[in-house]
């Protein structure tokens, strides 16, 4: 009764003997299947078009306007304030109250800091204390009073202990704990040529080196002194369609004594407000603003507002910023289309019974799975590449013209964002195809693929959950791969919020997020292979 196999492959017989040999033949077959289904080709083109359209639309729609009431109104680029760039070329915030003297040649500055108070303006006349982790007060050696110039500073912070920070992006931890009259902090900066060393001490006798940094191109006369500043305090409120962030300016007050400056002829202390934010941002509202410091004997009280740090992506940074990643926000819509096509690429074979023909022609089931993965992955990669390049080329100039500050990144980072977005779409497509092989039914495969890949991004981007829950969704699910779209590094010394839809941050770094997606795809492929081998088609 048992019918013999129609053709028993001889041991030396190769899969797909004929005009196309081996894996190349299987690959060719799968490519033919893909390109000859018009709906799938249209779906992939649609994915690229949707990505581009949404990205360019959001980039172009952010028009800001400004001007005095009754006066001429301006829009777009004209509204931008002066935006300083740091020595590394990145956009930085450089606003603080500075009590300084020129320092020529080598020398050092030492001070004891006994208090750091941070306040938020709750009404025009009253202030209330608030905890701002990166409020800072300390001593600084800075190239000049120009915004964006090189510097090194030792400081106490709201809740991050003593830090040595330099040239905006550098940050080294010193003594932990907060500062008070009972637990003061002694801090010292020593300059020797272009090298600056920071020290801290709890008692003024036992000093510890925090770190040594080299500032390129430091001139012989620099400004040395005390500073205080405090970044905005941001409250995010969740609602469907994006959390609204309310950013309030705060002010930090540092109390210094035992101030000594050695190395140059003794000068007099000058108070300068760097940037346009004086204490509590009063200066920004047009008034002259209170003096940035008061002096009583040897005690200096310095009050300032702003930040000395790189500008991070997302809301709450005091500037309307955009990133190149923001013009890729449409990728998630493209992702829906790609995932749909990819899931059907495998599951449709079961619907029509074509899988039996496929497996009869290529009995090595692993080869079929691999060929399908390669074909759909390559197609999705190309679609994603085109979409990412066009989105950025068309979107970024529109972002800049609409009066937003583009946070520029090195060319290599741009290449990584573009290739990473394409690779992310390719991996998601392979994952969806593997799900199609596992589920064998289109609707089920698409639903699961969308739930795994797109839904976590949506839930997090729409602030459906509190941030903590949303962050875990973006760490554990395949949607973590979307982290490849972030272009601005996340600095520890800048408080940021997760804001994937606004071109901001993901909870994982780009490559870590990509690795999570890789793991999911590998697991799905392994499961698909096991089930494809075990089950009859």
């Amino acid at each position: 009764m048992t019918t013999p196999a129609i053709s028993v492959p001889r041991p030396e017989a190769r899969i797909g003997d004929g005009p196309l040999n081996g894996f190349g033949g299987v690959l060719g077959a799968e490519w033919t299947k893909f390109r000859s289904v018009r709906g799938w080709v249209i779906g992939m083109i649609l994915a690229a078009l949707l990505t581009i359209f949404l990205g360019v639309f959001t980039a172009a729609s952010g028009q800001s306007s400004c001007g005095f009431p009754g006066g001429p109104q301006e829009t777009g680029k004209a509204c931008l304030p002066y935006v300083p760039h740091g020595p590394g070329g990145e956009v930085v915030a450089d606003s603080f109250s500075f009590v300084h003297q020129p320092l020529t040649g080598n020398g050092s500055i030492t001070a004891r800091i006994t208090k750091l108070a941070v306040e938020q303006r709750t009404s025009p006349t009253s202030l209330a204390p608030v905890l701002v982790p990166w409020a800072k007060a300390g001593i600084i050696i800075k190239q000049s009073t120009r915004q964006g110039s090189a510097y090194a500073a030792v400081m106490v912070t709201g809740s991050n202990g003593v830090r040595l920070q330099y040239d905006y992006t550098g940050d080294i931890a010193g003594l932990p704990g907060s500062v008070s009259a009972a637990h003061p902090r002694w801090i010292r900066l020593t300059r020797s040529g272009g090298t600056i060393t920071g020290y801290d001490s709890a008692d003024g006798t036992h000093w510890t080196e925090v770190g040594t940094v080299h500032l390129a191109g430091l001139s012989s006369t620099v400004q040395a002194g005390m500073f205080a500043t405090s970044p905005n305090y941001t409250v995010t409120q969740n609602s469907f369609g994006g959390g609204t962030s309310n950013s309030e300016s705060t002010q930090a007050t540092g109390v210094f004594d035992h101030v000594s400056l050695t190395g140059s002829s003794p000068g007099t202390w000058t108070g300068t407000t760097i940037g346009n934010q004086g204490p509590a941002g009063l200066r920004a509202r047009g008034g002259p603003g209170p003096a940035p410091y008061t002096r009583a004997g040897g005690t200096f009280t310095v009050t300032g507002s702003g930040d000395i740090a790189p500008v991070a992506a997302g809301a709450g940074q005091g500037l309307p910023t955009v990133t190149i990643g923001q013009s890729l926000v449409g990728a998630f819509v493209g992702l829906i289309a790609i995932v749909t096509v990819a899931a059907m690429f495998f599951s449709t074979e079961y619907r029509r019974g074509l899988i039996r023909t496929t497996l009869a022609a290529t009995p090595r089931r692993g080869a079929v799975l691999a060929a399908k993965a390669v074909v759909i992955g390559a197609v999705a990669f190309v679609a994603g590449l085109v979409a990412a390049v066009v989105s950025i080329v068309l979107g970024v100039p529109r972002e800049e013209n609409s009066g937003q500050v583009l946070l520029t990144v090195p060319v290599l980072t741009e290449v990584r964002v573009i290739l990473g977005t394409a690779a992310m779409l390719a991996l998601a497509a392979v994952l969806a195809a593997a799900l199609g092989a596992i589920m064998r039914r289109s609707a089920a495969a698409i639903t699961i693929a969308v739930l795994l890949v797109v839904m976590p991004f949506l839930l997090s981007a729409l602030h459906v959950f509190p941030t903590a829950v949303g962050d875990w969704l973006l760490r554990l699910t395949p949607a973590a791969g979307l982290a490849m779209e972030q272009s601005i590094p996340r600095y520890f010394q800048v408080t940021t919020i997760t804001s994937p839809a606004a071109g901001g941050y993901y909870p994982l770094s780009p490559y870590a997020g990509f690795a999570v997606l890789c793991l999911w795809t590998a697991a799905a492929l392994a499961l698909a292979l096991a089930m494809l081998r075990r089950r009859d088609a």
């Binding site: 729609s61 469907f240 994006g242 749909t340 609707a443 959950f465 839809a501 071109g503």
Partner: protein, 281 residues
């Protein structure tokens, strides 16, 4: 070619009666189709489970520390699950018709019931009824979660938070409105599926309708566009029915927002009915 099998003696009366009968038969047929496959039952169960689970997660992760003000709309927070549960409702609605297209069953259905509008009406009525019933259970679970968990997380009446319970008028409106919202989402997605027919594409289009606009809203910084999106898109406008705080700041009133979703659902169903009538199955 063929004469009518029965020449109607009093045409108008006969048609009306036939219409009633055909709708009744259609409803009966649709109900039989629905209850004899396991898929819809699982999806309905999924609506309840996912909606309540997401609400519990959202409520459980939100605390109001002692010394800080908490700008939280507790009712809206408790009903968070609806934003996710609606995806399952959409899939249920899409599969209600597109499965028939996928398997070719639609040809049998339309042969047995040549009155296509009756078939669509029966599907819509049955789907809406089921979704409303299941939605009521799910929304009640959400309200219960908020009612039980939130006071323990600092959202107490002594600090000025209204209880999340049906005795509080706005909460009752938000809860009932959320049930109606799910029903309207189902009808809109049914309309989409009738127009699109293919199950996979329909699911993609339906999910895009639900979630595309909110993402655009989150990434657009132009206030004019934000206002337009808040007023006229199905999910953003529709979900204003859940707002109980800061109603003055809303782009559209809660019932007005639900009305906008109603317009979307009606438009999708009318277009779907037209497509069903004009095209060969």
């Amino acid at each position: 070619m063929s004469a009518a099998v029965q020449a109607p003696p009093t045409a108008a009366l006969q048609t009306a009666a036939a219409r009633g009968a055909s709708l009744r038969y259609a409803l009966h047929a649709e109900w039989t189709k629905l209850r004899t496959v396991s898929g819809p039952a699982w999806l309905l169960l999924g609506v309840v489970a996912l909606t309540v689970a997401v609400s519990v997660a959202a409520v459980g992760a939100t605390y109001c520390p002692q010394d800080l003000g908490c700008p939280v709309d507790t009712t809206k927070l408790s009903l968070t699950g609806v934003q996710v549960g609606q995806a399952v409702v959409a899939i249920l609605a899409v599969l209600a018709i597109s499965n028939e297209y996928g398997s070719g069953m639609i040809r049998t259905t339309l042969t047995a019931m040549p009155r296509r509008q009756a078939v669509l009406a029966a599907k819509a009525i049955l789907l809406a009824t089921l979704v409303l019933a299941v939605g009521a259970v799910a929304v009640f679970g959400c309200v219960l979660a908020g009612h039980l968990i939130l006071p323990g997380h600092g959202f107490t009446a002594t600090r000025g938070f209204h209880p999340v319970w049906l005795s509080y008028g706005p909460a009752l409106r938000a809860a009932c409105g959320s049930v109606l919202y799910l029903g309207l989402i189902a009808l809109m997605c049914l309309g989409v599926a009738v127009i699109v027919r293919d199950s996979a594409v329909s699911i993609g289009v339906a999910l895009a309708l639900l979630y595309l606009f909110p993402i655009v809203l989150a990434s657009v910084s132009n206030t004019h566009w934000q206002h337009r999106l808040e007023r006229w898109t199905p999910t953003i406008a529709g979900l204003t029915i859940q707002d109980t705080a800061g109603l003055r700041g809303l782009a559209i009133s809660p019932w007005g927002g639900l009305g906008v979703l109603g317009i979307w659902a009606a438009a999708a169903l009318v277009l779907g009915a037209l497509a069903l009538r004009l095209r060969d199955a």
